[in-house]
């Protein structure tokens, strides 16, 4: 599918740039949810039953719907494939962790629409700053999924060249990468480029000072960055009630840029809203906060046990909103795809699972001396000394015993 937006692009320095404060003119109608306890008002284009939302009857989404007006049936199938493949990959990684092949895995189960929708909104020259769960976004960026597993297997701390796909390394410390994204976006603006930057983080990260500082810096410098928060309702065992007292997307208002809450299980709405936000960034209108309201169906990582901290009924309620099933229902109902298509995709996803399995199991441990590699770009006397000592120590075993 195309990742080009329907909206016309203007040079960032065109003089049409609006001051940061004026950006609120683009404030979406969705930003009217009244209280935290109320049913969240979401930008939604595809209902959980797989029915396209009638824009005429739902003026709240009118601003965003045009951003997916170009999406064809082929494109929908593409989005569907992305989600299926990502889920299959994620499931395989979870299984590999259970089999002892990975030390840890952070599953994205349930968040496929948020990641694929936003990931497919990006252009090649945009830059992505992920957390450690953005396997679907990585898929959209063309990062080989097996490269994501190196750090979870313990053979490296990254495993891909960030500059190849404009997809930064996973960041483990919660929220740190939002500042990197903001700084990168400041650089984009300085360069006069019209690309945009997107920073992913979770509802728990929104409590971190770094995220607040990223909001401050991006607002002050009017940086072309989209903050894409996947509110999956749980920060390990802490519910959103332990992170915030007002809906998350409303926080943007206090920093002087728009926030919008989108149905994070609706891939079409996520695509539309992210394109809208990216276009704002490209036009020089500064940052946007997108809160993708979604749910982490599995554990935070394979280390925790969600049955200890959340109710089965809650999980069951979210199962009914499954992002993949709703698009499948839509494709079936509209004749966009038939059972043969889905069966074909099943075969393809199984092949991916098999490949992931094989690659992980054959992943070589790094060379021992790699401990001392790339600590410094310009070299460091202490590292050199310790490398030599360690090499001599290892060599002392040769021919011994």
């Amino acid at each position: 599918m195309t990742v080009e937006s329907t909206a016309a692009r203007k040079p960032r320095r065109s003089g049409t740039k609006r001051p940061a404060g004026a950006a609120s003119a683009a404030k979406p109608a969705a930003a009217t949810a009244k209280t935290h306890d109320a049913e969240p008002q979401l930008v939604q284009l595809l209902t959980p039953e797989g029915v396209r939302v009638d824009v005429a009857e739902n003026p709240d989404v009118a601003e965003f719907a045009p951003f997916v007006a170009d999406i064809t049936t082929d494109d929908l199938r593409g989005l569907y494939r992305d989600m299926v493949m990502t889920r299959r990959f994620d499931g395989e990684a979870t299984a590999l962790q259970r089999q002892g092949e990975l030390g840890l895995w952070a599953s994205l189960l349930g968040q496929e629409a948020a990641q694929i929708g936003s990931g497919r909104a990006l252009r090649d020259d945009d830059y992505v700053f992920p957390t450690y769960r953005e396997h679907g976004v990585a898929w959209c960026r063309g990062v080989d999924p097996t490269n994501l597993l190196g750090m979870f297997r313990g053979v490296n701390h990254g495993g891909w060249d960030p500059t190849t796909n404009n997809f930064h390394l996973y960041t483990i410390v919660i929220g740190s990468q939002t500042l990197h994204a903001t700084g990168y976006a400041m650089g984009v603006a300085k360069d006069g480029a019209d690309s945009a930057v997107i920073a992913y983080f979770g509802d728990g990260a929104s409590s971190q000072g770094d995220v607040a500082e990223a909001f401050t810096f991006s607002a002050v410098y009017n940086s072309p960055v989209v903050f894409f928060c996947q509110n999956n309702q749980w920060a390990i065992s802490e519910p959103t009630e332990r992170q915030m007292r007002v809906p998350l997307y409303q926080r943007a208002q206090g920093f002087g840029f728009p926030g919008v809450r989108v149905d994070g299980n609706d891939v079409l709405a996520c695509l539309a809203v992210t394109r809208w936000a990216l276009e704002r960034a490209r036009r020089g209108e500064g940052p946007t906060l997108v809160e993708a309201f979604t749910y982490r169906m599995g554990a935070h990582t394979t280390s925790d046990d969600p049955t200890k901290y959340r109710r089965d009924e809650e999980t069951a309620a979210w199962e009914a909103k499954d992002p993949i099933l709703r698009l499948k229902a839509h494709l079936l109902a509209t004749g966009g795809a038939d059972e043969a298509y889905f069966a074909e995709l099943e075969v393809e996803s199984e092949a991916l699972g098999k490949r992931v399995r094989e690659v992980v199991r054959s992943m070589p441990d790094p060379d021992t001396m790699a401990i001392f590699e790339n600590v410094y770009a310009d070299g460091h006397a202490l590292v050199d000394e310790e490398r030599a000592q360690f090499a001599a120590y290892l060599a002392s075993f040769e021919g011994g015993e």
Partner: protein
């Protein structure tokens, strides 16, 4: 004229100006660095000449300053960040330690992090709490960071440019109580290597190793000791990560005695590491254990007590006497 007599502050200012002139990717960032020129005026006049896009006044958020500098470095810029005072670096410590220091290694060398973090540090100016600390050990302990401190105007001028040219993150500690000390700067010289120590005064009886603000104290101590017929060598370490152990070893093999002097607390400080390594390297050369003179394991005291806390001439000379008594 190639040789100028400059204060350390002016030498740093000239150095930043030269870096801005020579590389359009160099940026200055920090609180009050623009119109005010920094609280110590180290960036004085730079925004006026290079504009707000290159000399950037930031929000008052240290983690934000360093975190965005990392992002700018990822985009190809070379940010030179000013942290206003030593004690204010800690809100940014997370970004420095968990992100900045490790980016090169975890990207398997694909990413370079040419970020300089300038920190006016150490005491002696009668300041309030958090304005007089010496946290260099906390950074020297972190793999991936380089940590340096000039003690004079020439080093201030050259070491800052070398730090900016480095593809590694450099924590650049500026001895704030020496900002107004003058010294000769040869702007056409070929400078010493950034991490090489320098013999500030040659001697044969004992070595005093120091860096930053304590170099001057050690030179004064050496002059005083000379009046008593003692020949004291003063080594300006200049770099705390890496430490020039070869330079220290060469001096100790000559003098056979070593005292390490710094303002930071002695416990687990740079002096501890030097004492341990020099003991390993020079065990048979040493006539006395390596001694350390420095701060105490106590919070930096109120200004009225800092003269008691900071190593002064007498404490250094006392250590010299103790070493020579072995």
């Amino acid at each position: 004229m190639a040789v100028q007599k400059l204060t350390i502050a002016k030498a740093l200012n000239d150095s930043l100006r030269k870096a801005l002139e020579e590389d359009p990717k160099v940026l200055i960032m920090g609180e009050d660095v623009g119109k005010l020129g920094g609280v110590f005026r180290i960036t004085d006049g730079l925004q006026k000449d290079f504009g707000e896009e290159r000399v950037i006044d930031t929000p008052l958020a240290e983690s934000g300053i360093v975190g965005t500098a990392i992002g700018l470095a990822l985009r190809g810029y070379r940010p030179v960040v000013e942290i206003q005072f030593d004690g204010f670096v800690f809100p940014a410590y997370d970004q420095i330690v968990t992100q900045l220091a490790k980016m090169h290694a975890r990207s398997l060398g694909k990413i370079k992090m040419p970020v300089v973090i300038r920190i006016p540090y150490a005491g002696g100016i009668g300041a309030v709490e958090h304005h007089s600390e010496s946290p260099e050990t906390l950074f020297a302990h972190v793999p991936g960071l380089k940590v340096v401190s000039p003690s004079n105007a020439s080093d201030a001028y050259w070491m800052l440019q070398q730090a900016i040219l480095s593809d590694d993150p450099v924590i650049f500690f500026e001895p704030k109580r020496r900002y107004w000390d003058k010294g000769e700067v040869d702007v056409e010289a070929i400078p010493d290597a950034l991490h090489a120590s320098r013999v500030a005064r040659a001697g044969t009886d004992i070595t005093l190793a120091a860096y930053g603000p304590m170099v001057k104290v050690c030179l004064e101590a050496a002059a005083a000791a000379a009046e008593e017929g003692k020949s004291v060598e003063v080594l300006d370490l200049r770099s705390m990560s890496p430490v020039d152990f070869d330079g220290i070893q060469a001096s100790v093999e000559k003098t056979r005695r070593l005292v390490v002097v710094h303002e930071a607390p002695v416990f687990l400080g740079v002096g501890s590491e030097i004492a341990a390594r020099i003991t390993e390297r020079c065990f048979y050369h040493l006539e006395a254990p390596v001694l350390r003179v420095g701060g105490y394991h106590a919070p930096y005291p109120p200004a009225r007590l800092e003269d008691e806390y900071l190593p002064g001439l007498d404490r250094v000379l006392d250590a010299v006497d103790r070493s020579l008594a072995y």
